[in-house]
Amino acid sequence: MARTASIAVQEVESPLFRPPWPVLAAALVSFVTLGISARAFATLPFLALLMLAAWVFKTRLASGKWPIWAARAALLAIIFFSLGWQRSLFLPSYMFFDTRYVQPFGQLCAAELVIQCWKKRPAGGPLALGVLLISAIVFACGADTYEDRYIPYLAPAYFTFAGLALADLRGPRVRGLAMLLAALCIGGLVRLAMHRNRDAITMWTMKLVQRADLGEAIGLSDAPLLGSTRLAAASNIRVLRLEGDCAQMHLRALVFDTYAHGAWGPLQNQRMLEPVTPARLCFAEPGQRLRIARIVERCRYLFAPLHCVGLAPAPGSRLLWDRKFRAPIINEESGVAPYSYAVIPGLSAQHQGPLCAPLPEGERRECLALPGGPDPQYQRYPAVRELAQRIGGTLGTPLERVEEVVNYLRDHHEYSLTCEAGSGDPLANFLLDGKAAHCEYFASAAVMLLRCLDVPSRYVTGYLAHESAGPGKMVVRARDAHAWAESWIEGLGWVTVEATPPSGLPLAMQPPSFFVLAMEWFQDFWARAAAWFSGLSWGQLAGWGAAAAMACGILIGLLRKARQWLQRKRRLAATATVLYSGSDVALRALALRFEGLLRRLGAPCPAHRTWQEHIAALAGRTGSAHLDLEQAEVFLKQYNAARFGTPGDGTAAQRLQAVLGRLESVSPN
């Protein structure tokens, strides 16, 4: 920055420093971010108020110099890093940037920022830049948090203000600071993005390292175990895409009837899977269909609602199923995605379609079996039986018993993604100790209680489809994985029993964020484009290539034209007003008229040129404006004399009007 006239530059104190408004706004956003993440609802608002007060009041504290505060910031940084380093002696290295240290450091920086605003500073120092840099550190500290719900909203605001501030400040130091700021922000964002997507990153890493089975990743297990947590709940991976007659529905995959030691069986490898023909899966003529596309790889199950009328797999599919449970239905060939099939929805909620096999006597006994015997783990089951009798022992019909059991579970147990299994049988502990647990416990408990009440029941896993993806479309994610019960009611057949409280159902989950949806849209778009491209023949490829080249050419041409048009418009806008500060109104009107004439002729004079120079340049150009250059020279000479010369008798304006009139008359409108 050029210094003003004096050659011997002296250190002069600037009377007052007020950061420009974008800097102030960026600092306030960083305060809000840190306030939310550090839960510092008392100190940060107080600091923000102090900063605003510095903007309002004119008093300043004693002067300090730039290197002093830089050294102070360096000291603070050293303290911060030494804290992190000490911590890393005892814990793994990922604890280096522990939020417990980052947030106090951010608060120290926020205090420093306020001090900078209240200090008297020498003139010519990079004042606002310093404040902006500290606000960036405060924001980065605030963004390093597990409470990241607000960051997607605060980060764009911060970057906008920081960008505006940098554009506003400019100057030679700005580039260096901008790079520092960008590095800081990008580093913070990458860390945040990694934190948010840690599940996906872990999964992809595992996939690269050992090609792990994705069974768990999609939320379903071949051998469900009543564990203490349900981790799959967080995964956003899309598993199924539904199109057609969509409504909330239970899509079953696996059915189990044997319970032992907190696990359901039979295991996948103990089942007798038999081939099944598509004809056996379809009881009725295909009517209205629900199209399901399985879009996750390495998964071979066909998901379908219990009460569907029929299931139409893709032509040529070879299917297997467990005839006893009518589930799982497995596509024998492979689990390559996407795999599409159709489901014909049931006529009613009780329709007994191909997936509802009648219950023979042998299987009935299995569906009424309770864990017991000498195993000490099951010593609490008599109490479970008593509980079941208390709940529904006096009720007459099985349906009433089912209803009562569901109501009991919903009323006496709370939903929780984590559960303390305790010693002994986790299911008995859950039922008798009134614990909170997840859907697997509720489903298992419903099965056990109903079996105690002589209602044959079994345990089912699958997905609860609920998320709309547009009209007539749904999407099912791994986090929608669910467990429920199926009961056999005499005279009615198999019915779905949903015992999980509404707060624990997948549909109670927050919808995916905008960023997740946008990313999926891009994935789908890319997949469609890739599929379309791979289906093209060489001839079509050549044709499309030529068309694309032509389109690019046209687009570039159009962009050039648009740019020229914009430049021309800007030139016109720049000359739309005439810089006239004289007091003679008549002369001002004449100046505007002359400028308007030049504009109409397509030769507006740029604001930084004099008319004289412009006319001289036009005279040297052939076929330029339809301007009578001689008359224009006369006009300019007289105008300049009247405008800048000694004030005359007032007749100059009339003479000028006459000349301008002649000019306008010979020029086309």
């Binding site: 050659i7 400019r170 810089l579 500060s581 930084h608 008319w611 300049n640 800048f644 010369g645 000694t646």
Partner: protein, 313 residues
């Protein structure tokens, strides 16, 4: 003095100089503008382009005292301003005037002397006076310094201090003549150098009258504001370490008046300011180190600033 007298006198000087310096009408005009505005001129170009000849010709055109100082590395400040000598005759100290006591001073190859000696010119150029041994001595009026320097050479030269550069009203670059003019130069010096037959065409009193007459040229406030906006633009230009001083604004103000008068106008136009911006402003500014080594040149920078500041209508 009437406007006609003014134009006639100026034309006489122009014609006189044009006899010696061929094809350089614009440079001659700028030199005369500098003289009329009461300032000083720095002639800068490669060796052999006629800098010294032009300065000498102007000096001879004015019927006044002309002194030439050949700036050498061993020159001392007292060699310029003058000093007191002991007179054994009457036992007193007698002040012997230095070469600056003249109407036209030619400071030839000014950058070959040390900044210490160059500093002797600071007071001389800005205040037209010399202070030696606590006594102030006024210089004869008109007082006009024409300095020449060769910007190509680095060995044995000292760059002029910013304070001194700021005291030169105009920096004129002569440049090589065109082919026709150069042929003309060859023939004109066939028998003898035209400088030898050059006679004075204007007296010191006439020059002073011309300088006074220039001050009567009308300078509209809108143009003054335009001039200041240009100066401010140089001060806020990030590529510059040093912008234009108020002395620079004043120089542009006065030279614009002189230009307007030489062109026969009694009022200044924005064109006058724009035409003189490069010779008056460029040498007063200092480039930022980064800009200097990235190929930015000051005249181009002034042109860029002229392209940014709107002109009053």
């Amino acid at each position: 003095m009437t406007s006609d007298d003014f134009s006639q006198t100026v034309r006489k000087i122009e014609d006189n100089l044009a006899r010696v310096i061929r094809g350089k009408a614009e440079s001659i005009r700028l030199l005369i503008i500098s003289l009329l505005s009461g300032g000083h001129t720095l002639l800068e170009d490669a060796p052999g382009t006629g800098k010294t000849t032009l300065a000498k010709s102007l000096a001879r055109s004015i019927d006044g005292v002309f002194r030439r100082i050949q700036f050498t590395p061993d020159l001392l400040p007292a060699d310029i301003t003058g000093s007191s000598f002991y007179s054994p005759k009457d036992g007193t100290f007698e002040f012997r005037e230095g070469p600056v006591f003249a109407n036209v001073v030619l400071a030839d190859e000014i950058n070959r002397t040390s900044p210490r000696t160059q500093s002797a010119l600071l007071e001389v150029m800005s205040e037209s006076q010399v202070t030696v041994e606590g006594k102030r001595r006024h210089l004869p009026l008109p007082f006009f310094v024409v300095a020449t320097q060769n910007p190509i050479e680095f060995h044995g030269t000292y760059p002029l201090p910013e304070a001194q550069l700021d005291r030169f009203t105009l920096r004129i670059t002569l440049g090589y003549p065109d082919a026709a003019s150069e042929v003309d130069v060859l023939y004109s010096q066939n028998d003898r150098h035209p400088f030898e037959t050059l006679a004075s065409v204007v007296s010191c009193q006439e020059v002073l009258a011309l300088q006074e007459h220039v001050k009567s040229v009308r300078f509209d406030k809108a143009i003054a504001e335009y001039l200041v906006r240009l100066a401010e633009a140089t001060r806020s230009e990030p590529r510059l370490r040093l912008g234009i001083s108020p002395r620079g604004s004043l120089a542009l103000y006065r030279t614009a008046q002189a230009r307007a008068r030489t062109l026969g106008r009694d009022y200044v136009l924005p064109e006058d300011v724009r035409a003189l911006a490069v010779p008056v402003l460029a040498h007063r500014m200092m480039l930022d180190t980064k800009a200097k080594y990235s190929g930015v040149r000051l005249p181009q920078l002034v042109e860029e600033i002229l392209e940014k500041v709107p002109v009053p209508r």
